[in-house]
């Protein structure tokens, strides 16, 4: 145990690497409510504790509840919204024409959908994260509208709510909430996507220090052509505490009226074609110093907070879409006959429905669990949990829409049916809002950093000969070697997880325990260089996502049984099914993380890709070739 290079001082370096590597290319993010951003955010500790092999029950068990009042209110909203989207939104036309009709946009504004989380005193609806997620399920009926609304309020104007001054809020929020002004989030540049910290757009302070001059180009900005208010991120010169001059990012509220702002033409996209995506150029745009958002030089943090706080709602948006997909496809499968039998009688078709139902159940559970945690008082920062929801739901969406299209066979491929459009719309989910690759690295590194910090202090205690720590460590080693069954407090306590889910709870506990041990081993083996081991980090993230998902379904299913909700037996079925699957997936990933594990092909992968990328082509000789 001695001589190990654990984090401590390195923690800062890892943190910097982690933040620099975090995604930022985001036309769309759903973020937290009207509560002001406090720099000392309390962290959701659930995901982080998993890295230490602990299951933190607080906030997770029991499944979060909303008040009866809130529930009544949400239910009141659902009816009119559903009606509007069913009767008045022609998704096919929006996709074909590549734009949302003006009067549809106007109706969306009058419905109040442009200011869902803007506080009431500024003219918005002031709804909580949970309610926002619920509405997302309905808005998901049209992908282009979903993205347009999200780019406007989840990221476009969110900065003003989170870190804006009272003057800024009073000046801008009312017209943004009513939709009179539309907002856009301008971070991405041609040379800076995932690597957000490398942006080149510059804001130079004027001689009289009254305004900044903004110059630069942003790319792929959703609502870029419609917006009149932009949240723009640019590099500014900042004098550091030690007197040196550094380039740091600052966030600005920029009005189109400030001048010098031009748009490129709308980009032709694969999907979400109704949403407006274009380049935005700033040429000597004068931005008054009053329009700095947050602190000068603190823009990167602002960007990250904006993006982190809204990710979770992708879970409910996709779940809403999947539920409708299941209905649509089931109608077909139960009426279409081949070989004189309904498609619904064939195993391969049934499997697809089970997949869709399971994925929908899991992401619903994860999304609302995260929303519930975010709605807790104290402004918690659940960025890891939210990132996990985003990764899971985006990949499940792509997979499930593809399977649904497959059920329809040739018809699914035709533009006459909505499936091909839904597939095209779904593809962006894995890319924007932080690519899934970046988010996996973020999930893994943030957790490992936390674990590293705790473990370093434990190592220090051991070195100092702290008796309790020594006893704890020895006790754990003994338990490991005797391979006793793991008890982390879930099973055997009917009040936490219902007995019908007991087996799954045991599997979860076992996974968590071994995950904690594996994390320790990884930190010991790699130390700070783990930042470079993306294939290892990917597995860590995948395990964590599965663990979080298992927890969410167990918590939700237990609540359903306890409350006596209809069809809770079906939920138990889905939950247990998912847990078994995830358990074995985790075991495989964990075994791959073992040193010298034969299942681990990382070395071979690296070698193959090196040889290919060296020649930038496929290098095998053609199978028909000869040597002479």
């Amino acid at each position: 145990m001695s001589g190990c290079r654990l984090f401590s001082r390195r923690a800062a370096a890892v943190a910097a690497a982690a933040t620099a590597v975090r995604a930022s290319r985001v036309p769309r993010v759903f973020t937290a409510t009207h509560r002001p951003l406090h720099t000392s955010l309390r962290s959701c500790s659930f995901a982080k504790e998993l890295f230490l092999g602990n299951i933190e029950q607080k906030g997770v068990f029991p499944f979060p509840e909303v008040s009866q009042d809130e529930l009544n209110e949400i239910n009141q909203f659902v009816g009119p919204l559903e009606r509007f989207f069913t009767e008045e939104v022609d998704s096919r036309k929006i996709d074909q024409e590549g734009k949302i009709p003006v009067d549809t946009l106007e109706k969306l504004k009058s419905l109040g959908l442009f200011g869902i989380q803007v506080p009431e005193e500024y003219g918005g609806l002031g709804l909580s994260n949970t309610m926002y997620a619920r509405l997302g399920e309905i808005i998901s009926m049209d992908g282009s509208i979903t993205v347009t609304l999200a780019a406007h309020q989840a990221i476009g104007l969110k900065g003003i709510i989170l870190v804006g001054t009272e003057e800024q809020k009073a000046k801008y929020l009312p017209k943004l909430a009513s939709g009179e002004h539309i907002a856009a989030f301008c971070l991405t540049e041609p040379a800076s996507g995932s690597d957000a910290a490398s942006i080149q757009t510059r804001a130079t302070l004027s001689e009289d220090k009254k305004y900044f001059v903004l110059n630069g180009s942003k790319v792929w900005i959703t609502n870029g052509g419609l917006a009149s208010i932009f949240t723009v991120f640019a590099k500014t010169q900042v004098v550091d505490s030690d007197g040196s001059i550094k380039d740091k990012i600052t966030a600005f509220i920029v009005e189109r009226d400030f001048g010098g702002i031009t748009n490129g033409k709308p980009e032709e996209k694969l999907g979400i074609r109704g949403s407006n995506t274009c380049e935005v150029h700033f040429e000597n745009t004068r931005v008054p110093v009053e329009n700095v958002l947050g602190e000068v030089g603190g823009g990167f943090k602002v960007a990250m907070n904006i993006l982190n706080s809204g990710r979770f709602s992708m879970g409910s948006v996709v779940a809403g879409m999947l539920k409708k997909l299941i209905e649509l496809t089931a109608e077909y499968a139960c009426t279409r006959k081949q070989f004189n039998r309904n498609l619904s009688e064939f195993g391969l078709i049934q499997e697809k429905f089970a997949l869709m139902a399971q994925k929908a159940y899991v992401m619903e559970s994860m999304a609302y669990l995260t929303a519930g945690m975010l709605d807790e008082p104290g402004f918690p920062d659940c960025s890891i949990e939210a990132a996990m929801v985003k990764v899971f739901s985006s990949e499940a969406a792509w997979q499930c829409v593809s399977e649904a299209l497959q059920i329809l066979g040739g018809s699914g491929y035709m533009k006459d049916y909505p499936y091909e459009r839904m597939l095209r719309d779904a593809r962006i989910l894995l890319i924007f809002e932080g690519t899934n690759e970046i988010l996996r690295l973020f999930i893994a590194l943030t957790g490992l950093q936390h674990a590293g910090r705790i473990l370093t202090s434990r190592i220090k205690e051991l070195k100092r000969g702290n008796v309790t720590t020594v006893m704890e460590t020895i006790g754990r080693r003994l338990r490991d070697s005797l391979s006793r069954t793991v008890d982390l407090g879930l099973s055997g306590k009917p009040s936490v997880v219902h007995p019908s889910l007991g087996d799954s709870a045991n599997k979860l506990e076992e996974n968590v325990y071994y995950f904690g041990r594996t994390v320790e081993t990884l930190l010991l083996r790699f130390g700070k260089t783990i930042v470079e081991e993306q294939l290892v980090l990917k597995r860590v993230a995948n395990i964590l996502i599965n663990l979080y998902a298992m927890t969410a379904v167990l918590s939700r299913a237990s609540r359903s049984i306890r409350t006596g909700l209809p069809n809770h037996d079906h939920e138990v079925l889905l939950a247990n099914m998912f847990c078994v699957e995830a358990y074995y997936q985790n075991l495989f990933s964990l075994s791959q993380l073992d040193k010298y594990s034969p299942e681990n092909l990382d070395e071979q992968i690296k070698k193959v890709s090196q040889q290919i990328l060296e020649k930038r082509a496929y290098i095998c000789a053609h199978p028909l070739d000869r040597t002479s």
Binding site: E73, Q76, P80, G112, E120, P566
Partner: protein, 255 residues
Amino acid sequence: MAELRALVAVKRVIDFAVKIRVKPDKSGVATDGVKHSMNPFCEIAVEEAVRLKEKKLVKEVIAVSCGPAQCQETIRTALAMGADRGIHVEVPAAQAESLGPLQVARVLAKLAEKEKVDLLFLGKQAIDDDCNQTGQMTAGLLDWPQGTFASQVTLEGDKIKVEREIDGGLETLRLKLPSVVTADLRLNEPRYATLPNIMKAKKKKIEVIKPGDLGVDLTSKVSVISVEEPPQRLAGVKVETTEDLVAKLKEVGRI
């Protein structure tokens, strides 16, 4: 004349898009867990009343519904559309099943008098029982003039001009206020209850009263014997020639 006050009666019915199923014991249609919403014709009635208020011709719009606790949802929708306050005449669920047009008409008549309204709006009929009687009966009990199947409504001082869609075409009546108007499909297109309005509606009052408070007796003289689904439509038969057709028709005794 912004001193006029309107009462709009709304009914909570099974949503029009739902595929209804008859209960196995044939006592009625299955309503548990089924999606309900405001009767579409009642929505049109509410919309008309709210439009008159927006034109400043009517001062106050009151929405009323008779039935169990869930009726309040329907009243809230009316409030979200623009009604000023609501009245819920509470009838326990078991009794609500036997509520028919005559009982509701008695309640509305008493309420119209109590609230001293000048206009009573209703939908022409409910999509669950299709009775098309409540408006007419209420007018009879109140001895008020009635304009049913309204496709256009214009207020003229102390009178109301109602254009009615009838089988023969369009009939226009001029009624002295107070009067009863029932809404037909083409009267207007109801607005969506927007989310901000739903939130504002939370602050509007809904008064809960019992039929007894109005001195109304709800006993029904009608009892439902059985409810059955219509017979399954059988496939037709194709014939080759007109002679075959005549022969077939004779066969089944139709000619």
